[in-house]
């Protein structure tokens, strides 16, 4: 029913779209960031944030504050908003909203498994988990010794179960394995999400496929850069790329054989949308790549709000809020550690 969403979308999705657009209007603006960057102490940050939507969440925090508290409270706000939206959502929007959290779930699983491997306290690890990616038996992950057990014991009950089918091995867990597992899971997740969005059709499919393709391509680049110089074989590397996106399939073939960052750059510059990202970087540099990608992502996410009657706004909003929280974390850290000169290094202005 492409082009006819306007007739039926508002029956179920109208209220929530209004809500999410309202939330988006509450995102911090460039003026806010300018003010935040001038703060001298964390209390100043709190004072400034108390005039924004974060106010009610921070007002009862005793000074002196810590960066973690700020981030925690801001995340709490995001989670509250998400839960509210999820409660109000009907199918298929509720499934769509749940899909958004699977990425966090994967990260949490990896976090706990890695942590247990290094014999950290489970409770401590649980506190570090992103609250959006929590599921009931997450603490039980600590019991598992290998992938098979991990799957059989815990993950079989979670929505991640189908993604695991590709990485069940009886090997014991080690850092490398876990990293491969994370990427395999992510690949399966992105592909599934992509398929789901295609099934929804209409503007949702159009916009989400663009956003997800960007995500997939970014992951492909990151995997390539991170795997340079490790014992990961080309074939294995190739297997970790998601089977869609702008780079699929020819770009993947080329990325799979890259041996250093400049080769990656050469590959990416063939694709016009990514040319601009890489043209900002000097040769041999990969430090600023993350920021460049984030900036591009934010730009695309903001564009998603330009069209109405699709679910992409929910995805975009959650991502933008997360970016905002990352920004706040960076600013607070810089302020707390008196590194104000570096404040602009990693802040991605949203508006």
């Amino acid at each position: 029913m492409y082009g006819f969403e306007a007739m039926t979308f508002n029956i179920h999705g109208g209220y929530l779209e209004a809500i999410v657009r309202g939330h988006r209007a509450g995102l911090l603006t460039a003026a806010d960031y300018n003010n935040l960057c001038q703060c001298e102490t964390l209390d100043d940050i709190k004072m400034h944030l108390s005039a924004t939507e974060y106010g009610p969440y921070l007002q009862n925090e005793p000074s002196p504050l810590h960066t973690t508290t700020i981030v925690e409270k801001c995340t709490l706000k995001l989670v509250d908003e998400y839960k509210h939206m999820l409660c109000q959502a009907t199918e298929p929007l509720s499934t769509f909203l749940e899909y958004i959290t699977y990425g966090h779930m994967i990260d949490n699983v990896v976090l706990i498994v890695t942590g247990t491997l290094h014999e950290r306290d489970v409770q401590e690890l649980l506190e570090k988990c992103h609250p959006l990616g929590m599921f009931d038996s997450i603490a039980t992950l600590a019991v598992a010794q290998n992938m098979r057990e991990l799957y059989r014991l815990v993950l079989v009950d979670t929505p991640l179960a189908p993604y695991f089918s590709e990485c069940i091995t009886s090997e014991d867990l080690d850092d490398m394995n876990i990293e491969i597992m994370r990427n395999t899971l992510y690949k399966a997740y992105l592909e599934d999400f992509y398929k789901f969005c295609q099934k929804l059709g209409g503007a949702t499919a159009e916009i989400m496929s663009d956003l997800l393709a960007f995500e997939a391509d970014r992951r492909a680049v990151n995997i390539t850069i991170n795997s340079i110089g490790t014992e990961l074989t080309r074939d294995d590397r190739r297997k970790l790329y998601s089977n869609f996106g702008l780079l699929y399939p020819y770009g993947h073939e080329e990325l799979a054989v890259c041996e250093d960052i400049d080769q990656v750059r050469a590959v990416m510059e063939k694709y016009p949308p990514y040319q601009s990202i890489f043209s900002k970087l000097s040769y041999g540099e990969s430090q600023m790549l993350d920021k460049a990608f984030y900036e591009e992502e934010v730009k695309r996410l903001c564009l998603a709000f330009e069209q109405q009657f699709h679910y992409g706004v929910f995805f975009a909003y959650m991502r933008l809020r997360e970016q905002e929280i990352r920004n706040l974390m960076w600013i607070s850290e810089c302020v707390a550690q008196n590194q104000k000169s570096r404040v602009h290094d990693s802040v991605v202005f949203i508006f």
Binding site: M47, N60, V122, S137, A142
Partner: protein
């Protein structure tokens, strides 16, 4: 601005004259000065630091401190609510608390309270743990007991079977099994504890998976809920006992227990030890209970002392915070010796403000007094009406449309009477009026009580408008008496009806009609009209004409007010080229109609007014025939028509051209001004003052504006007059509805002669009257009256583009924060 000062003050019609004042306050008396000004509440500070972000301002640290104290107070409040205490409303007022002491004190109290809470939590934690332990021991004891008795029964059965050897029924293998059993027996370990009920299924499943089914789990449901020691929340839980074999399984089970938040408790199989444990635990529970109680008493005492001072403290903190906010708005002098404040204050309060500043200087032992300096400005001052509790609601009605421009005529004055009156025209029923009056007098009598407490949304609204409603009710009683409506029952209040039957038998009352037997009914509509066939045509004609009269009168009032506005601001142009043609246009058409109506009423003619009005336009020269009401009517009509036609271009053309001319002259005048008028400085000031506001004069814009204005007025004169017919329509609807409820519900129920049906009928009647007539109709009549005021009345003269005077005042602080 200049004109207002030497006129007598008109309390509500013109807003208070204001002045822009600069205060130069020495830094040592600044805090006290601001505080006194806040008590006085007549000074609106301008933000002189608007370009600075909140934390760059001078007093940011103090504001932060106040914020911190406010947080502590919130914490206390939370604790008080938890403990079921409410802050005593009238606490001891001792003035000797200052901010620094209070900060220290609050800090101490918070620390004390936190420590108490921590202790309490610790104790409560162990208490809850012990309770859980006790429950586990009891429940698990039951498992073991029942299991043992079952095992014993099995054993006996088996023994019995063994004795009765040779029975064919006994399975052959069983015997073997039973014999070999003791030798193979493995020592089974077990873990017991409590698991939240909603997680118990998942818990069981994971246990099963993790140990590949090599466990035996027994659960039993606990009646009621248990307080969880970790979270301190009530939860429903299950007692479980897991049997396992082997150390590895144990490790896994322990980990799973941790993951599920299941609390494990040790347990022994030995019965005597169980008893021992239970008694021990019970003993310790007793001890803990008393300790906790003592702690609670302590805490309550502390909270009570806090509650005693709470209101005072929170008021002080709010006050200080607002003072520092205000101080942050002032700009600091270069020498850092004094603060410079700018702001608006009403002229009448000048002395009060100066006195207060003087007092602040003396009280803070400052050597230098505050300098009070009036500034000249072109900025438009804020609008400030001195309202009381009666007039404020009416002023609100006007303010909801737009705040009056500084010193323009305030429609609020007239609204006090016209609003309730127009409402009552639509709501004319003195029975309903009395109901409304009783309801609103309840609010007015209980005013003191209600104003101090927090009301619900709708109640708050009704309470706020209680005097409006009272006036509406009084006017409804008045118009109700005129309409002779009382729940649609006619009354002969002012003497007997003027009409009677031709003959005493009075059978043909409805067919042959009535004759006038007495003098005219002295007040309002004759009750005999009620229920007759000609009731509707009669009332319609009456109400329709009345609405037009009222409408024309109110619109004329609006235009006359525009004259007063023009006169006040000395704008001759508006009087000559706007007010005059508007008056002529409106009155030559609709004023004439009103005249016709009145004449028709007076002489009782049967002329058709529609016909007269329509043919006045279509063929003004035709003879009026039987529609002629008075001599010379035709001539008058032609004159009026011509006057109306002339009025339109009169409104449209001269003003923009004259404005243009004025503008050009002023520019020329300005260049000569320095030479010619250098003596008269004030005049020159005036000229420059005036010209600056018209700096860029766009003729086309002014002309289009005037065009729009003219079209709006001309069309509006017709449509607004028609709009006043809503008075008739709503009043008709109201009386018809009430007669329907009366006839079709109450009288119908009465007709059945059955007490039961009558009760139902009365009930339905009351519900319908209250729900539809009193609530819904009130609302709709209110809205229509509102529209008539906002659109038809105020559009004639009201600019409404001012802004409200918001003085810095402590009195409004409490209301704001709630």
């Amino acid at each position: 601005m200049g004109g207002g000062t030497h006129r007598p003050t008109m309390d509500l019609l013109r807003s208070e004259p204001m002045q822009l004042v600069q205060l130069i306050i020495p830094i040592e008396s600044a805090h006290r000065s601001i505080s006194y000004l806040g008590d006085l509440g007549f000074f609106q500070f301008k933000d002189l630091n608007s370009e600075k972000s909140p934390f760059q301002r001078t007093y940011a640290t103090q504001i932060k401190r106040c914020g911190e104290m406010a947080r502590k107070l919130r914490f206390f409040k939370e604790q008080m609510v938890k403990a079921g205490l409410s802050p005593s409303t009238r606490s001891a007022i001792s003035d000797d608390v200052d901010l620094d002491n209070l900060e220290v004190k609050l800090g101490e109290l918070e620390a004390e309270l936190m420590e108490m809470n921590a202790n309490h939590e610790k104790l409560q934690h162990s208490y809850n743990e012990l309770i859980e332990y006790k429950l586990v021991v009891q429940k698990a004891g039951e498992f073991f007991h029942s299991a043992q008795s079952m095992a014993a029964a099995k054993q006996r059965e088996v023994e019995a079977q063994q004795r009765g050897e040779g029975s064919i029924d006994s399975p052959l293998l069983l015997e073997q099994e039973m014999v070999t059993d003791p030798s193979k027996q493995v020592k089974l370990g077990f873990v017991s504890g409590l698991v939240p009920r909603e997680k118990s299924l998942a818990f069981e499943r994971i246990l099963f998976r993790a140990t590949r089914g090599n466990v035996f789990l027994k659960q039993s449901v606990l009646e009621g809920s248990v307080t969880d020691p970790a979270s301190g929340e009530k939860a429903e839980k299950n007692v479980f006992v897991v049997f396992y074999s082997g150390e590895r399984a144990r490790n896994k089970i322990v980990k799973i227990c941790e993951a599920f938040g299941a609390n494990r408790y040790p347990f022994t199989e030995d019965l005597s030890k169980q008893f021992q444990i239970i008694t021990e635990v019970s003993g310790r529970l007793e001890e803990l209970k008393t300790t906790i109680d003592v702690g609670l008493v302590h805490q309550t005492n502390l909270l009570q002392t806090i509650a005693y001072h709470f209101e005072q403290w929170s008021h002080l903190v709010k006050k200080e915070k607002s003072i520092y906010h205000t101080l942050s708005m002032l700009s600091i002098d270069v020498t850092k010796k004094c603060l410079v404040a700018e702001g608006w204050c009403p002229v009448f309060a000048t002395n009060k403000i100066q006195n207060v500043l003087q007092r602040a200087t003396v009280d803070s032992n400052s050597q230098i007094g505050t300098i009070f300096h009036i500034l000249q400005t072109k900025e438009s001052p804020p609008t400030y009406f001195h309202t009381n509790k009666f007039t404020s609601a009416f002023q609100e009605i006007v303010d909801a449309y737009g705040i009056a421009k500084y010193q323009e005529a305030n429609p609020g004055v007239f609204t006090i009477i016209t609003f309730p009156f127009l409402f009552a025209v639509m709501f004319g029923d003195w029975g309903h009026g009395i109901c409304l009056f009783l309801a609103t007098s309840y609010f007015i009598i209980k005013e003191k009580k209600f104003s101090s407490q927090k009301l619900g949304d709708i109640t708050e609204m009704i309470f706020g408008g209680r005097y409006v409603i009272m006036m509406m009710a009084l006017f409804s009683i008045y118009t109700g008496l005129i309409y002779n409506e009382f729940f649609s029952v006619p009354f002969e209040l002012f003497g007997p009806s003027a009409y009677g039957c031709r003959d005493p038998a009075c059978r043909d009352a409805s067919t042959a009609g009535l004759v006038k037997v007495r003098a005219t009914y002295p007040f309002g509509v004759d009750p005999k009209w009620h229920g007759t066939r000609s009731e509707l045509p009669f009332l319609n004609s009456l109400k329709m004409k009345m609405s037009i009269l009222l409408g024309v009168a109110q619109m004329n009032l609006g235009i006359i007010l525009s004259y007063f506005n023009a006169k006040f601001s000395g704008n001759e142009l508006n009087i000559r080229y706007q007010f005059l043609p508007q008056m002529i246009f409106l009155n030559s058409l609709f004023g004439y109609l009103s005249l016709l109506i009145v004449v028709k009423w007076c002489i009782g003619s049967q002329a058709d007014l529609y016909h007269v009005m329509i043919y006045m336009f279509l063929s003004p020269t035709d003879d009026l025939g039987e529609n002629q009401l008075f001599f010379g009517q035709k001539f008058l009509q032609i004159v009026l028509l011509l006057a109306a036609l002339v009025a339109v271009p009169w409104m449209l053309f001269p003003k923009p051209f004259l404005l243009k001319k004025q503008h050009e002259e002023r520019h020329r005048g300005q260049s000569y001004a320095l030479l010619e008028n250098s003596l008269d400085e004030s005049d020159e000031m005036e000229v420059r003052h005036g010209s600056s506001s018209h700096e860029e004069f766009e003729f086309s814009e002014v002309f289009v504006h005037q065009l729009i204005h003219t079209i709006e007025f001309v069309l509006g004169a017709v449509s607004n007059t028609a709009s006043y017919l809503r008075l008739w329509a709503l009043s008709l609807a109201h009386s018809e509805l009430s007669s329907v409820f009366y006839d079709k519900v109450l009288l119908l129920a009465w007709g059945f002669n059955n007490i039961f049906i009558l009760i139902i009928g009365i009930f339905v009647f009351i519900c319908a009257t209250v729900g539809v007539l009193l609530v819904m109709e009130t609302l709709s009549a209110f809205l229509h009256a509102l529209r008539l005021h906002w659109v038809e009345f105020q559009s004639k003269f009201y600019e409404g583009d001012g802004y409200k005077f918001q003085p810095f005042s402590f009195a409004s602080l409490d209301a704001e924060d709630e």
